[in-house]
């Protein structure tokens, strides 16, 4: 640090501690819980209570989400025929594409925030794969080619953190054994947070039919879950949902009753939240499609996928390495090797559609090779 900077660092003015009253008020807002008003309302007057961020943006008509803007109205409607049975083989990547929509009522218009995620999972044990996230409201474009990726050497994943198809196809096919496996994988964390890891696995990965059926049956018998017929996902597809209630919400995993594929997920208020009535849908997702593509060369030999270098000025997607969802699992396995290129030394680039006065970061990865 330069001396001129260090002087300021070493002689910072005294700062009072963050008042507990203000902290609790803001934290409660972040959790969407009722709390006393903050000391003054200036900030809230500008942005509105965070609880209102969760306000409903659309309505459900016949179980189909109709939204004001940015919702499924501008997406193609998928059917389960877009989700064929796959026969993954070594040397391939399983690509799944998911549409996610969350309530965003920061504005009076009450709109959905929609975004797509595309997951790239190796069939063979080869790292944790990659997930790319499209910019809000836009599909992830374009579809990558194997040559777009690089392969870098990486350490072998701990068994407990593996999620490749080669492992999934060996998992138990009996519900009780599958339940035991899931509990073990979650490090004993059967809380709703731990169940989030199951949702992640089901949504981002592809498992054979016997294992999918076993997961469905295992969850059906899991304490707290109940079966709900006819729940629709973000694309309007009806399925058989397994739901549990948590913190004023019904959280449903929606399965195709024939293929046991996870079509999507839905969260609905079971307790009124501020101005939001019971029954308000807060979150929807849907697997849009899945397919097999050739893996880049060298992946099966102990390599890991490295995210493609974006074209200059590209805003298509942000990449991340999927990680275990629960703290319990995170603490029982070593950190997963990153398959992302090192951060560029160049600056963050502002999104082409930033909010006024708010910086947003875009990916600027540079291949390490």
């Amino acid at each position: 640090m330069d001396d001129e900077v260090r002087i300021f660092a070493e002689h910072r003015p005294e700062a009072p501690p963050y008042p507990e009253r203000a902290r609790q008020a803001l934290r409660a807002r972040l959790l969407g819980q009722p709390a006393g008003r903050p000391r003054r309302s200036r900030a809230w007057g500008v942005a509105g209570p965070l609880a209102a961020v969760f306000a409903l943006t659309g309505v459900l008509v016949g179980g189909v989400a109709i939204v004001a803007s940015g919702g499924p109205g501008d997406t193609q409607w998928a059917t389960t025929s877009d989700l064929p049975e796959l026969d993954p083989r070594p040397g391939q990547l399983i690509v799944t594409e998911t549409l996610r929509q969350a309530l965003d009522s920061a504005t009076s218009a009450r709109t959905w925030s929609s975004w797509y995620e595309r997951s790239w999972q190796p069939v063979e044990p080869a790292g944790a794969g990659l997930v790319e996230t499209g910019r809000r409201g836009r599909p992830v474009q374009p579809m990558r080619r194997p040559a777009d990726f690089q392969v870098a050497p990486c350490a072998k994943l701990p068994e407990q953190a593996r999620s490749d198809y080669a492992l999934l196809r060996t998992l138990p096919t009996e519900p009780a054994a599958m339940r035991a496996y899931l509990v073990e994988r979650l490090g004993g964390d059967t809380s709703p947070v731990g169940r989030g890891e199951i949702e992640r696995l089901l949504q981002e990965l592809y498992a054979p039919l016997p294992q999918r059926r076993a997961v469905f049956e295992a969850l059906k018998g899991w304490p707290g879950y109940r079966v709900i017929e006819g729940t629709r996902d973000a694309l309007g597809r009806a399925g058989t949902a397994l739901g549990f209630e948590h913190e004023g919400e019904l959280r449903e995993l929606i399965f195709d009753p024939q293929s046991y594929l996870l079509l999507g997920a839905r969260r609905t208020l079971t307790v009124a939240d501020g101005t939001l009535p019971v029954g308000t849908v807060k979150y929807l997702s849907a697997r849009v499609r899945h397919e097999l593509v050739p893996a880049p060369e060298g992946l099966g030999g102990g390599g890991c996928l490295v995210a493609p270098k974006p074209a200059p000025g590209s805003w298509d997607a942000a990449w991340y390495t999927p990680r275990p969802y629960t703290d319990t699992l995170s603490s029982t396995v070593p950190p997963l090797p990153s398959t992302l290129p090192p951060p560029s030394s160049e600056p963050a680039i502002v999104s082409p559609t930033p909010g006024p006065g708010v910086p947003t970061f875009s990916p600027s990865p540079t291949p390490s090779g």
């Binding site: 001129e4 002689h11 963050y18 203000a22 903050p38 989030g196 600056p347 910086p359």
Partner: protein, 189 residues
């Protein structure tokens, strides 16, 4: 410890995960804002920073595990809305130098650095701050009070690292003009 990026990603579907990001960084952001604006305004700033961050979380680049540059970037924009309040506060701090016995610039220059107490130096630092433009002040304080690296400061300010370095070069020259004897003595010592 779960990376910030993972918490933000998780908060897209489980908004309560964002509260953990808040727990992790709220104190630090409050202290930073309080040093610049005072405690009262800092409460508003922290509220606005996290509200904005929550609304914008889908745009966060989760390749960046540490969310501090992002949060400080938002804080910088929010604080910029309070420039007048910051100027008033900084000038008030700077006036303390002249109000104190022996606080004149000449007296400072003649004084050995070892004898300059922190209490006496802070008004001098505040005066130096008043001589920086807004962009220079933002950069200096992100480095000195938020402990960001050059790269992280560049992210926070959404400028190239090269711009950070050239801006830093200019502001160091200004600071050295105000605090020359102290800086040079530290350097040689």
């Amino acid at each position: 410890m779960t990376a910030d990026a993972e918490l933000i990603g998780r908060s897209l579907t489980e908004p309560e995960a964002f509260a953990r990001l808040f727990d992790r960084h709220a104190d630090e952001l409050f202290r930073y804002a309080a040093r610049r604006l005072g405690g009262e305004l800092a409460e508003d700033v922290v509220g606005e920073v996290f509200l904005t961050a929550f609304r914008r979380r889908a745009d966060y680049d989760r390749a960046r595990e540490d969310a501090r540059p992002w949060l400080y970037g938002i804080a910088t924009r929010v604080i910029a809305q309070h420039r007048r309040a910051e100027r008033r506060r900084t000038r008030a701090l700077a006036r303390l130098a002249a109000d104190r016995p022996g606080g004149s610039e000449a007296a400072f220059d003649e004084r050995s650095a070892e004898r300059v107490s922190a209490q006496q130096l802070q008004p001098r630092l505040a005066r130096a701050l008043t001589r920086l433009n807004a962009a220079e002040r933002d950069l200096l304080l992100l480095l000195a009070w938020a402990d960001l690296s050059y790269e992280d400061a560049a992210l926070a300010l959404a400028v190239p690292v090269g711009t950070v370095r050239s801006r830093l070069h200019r502001l160091r020259a200004k600071v050295r003009r105000d605090l020359g004897p102290f800086v040079e003595e530290r350097h040689s010592g």
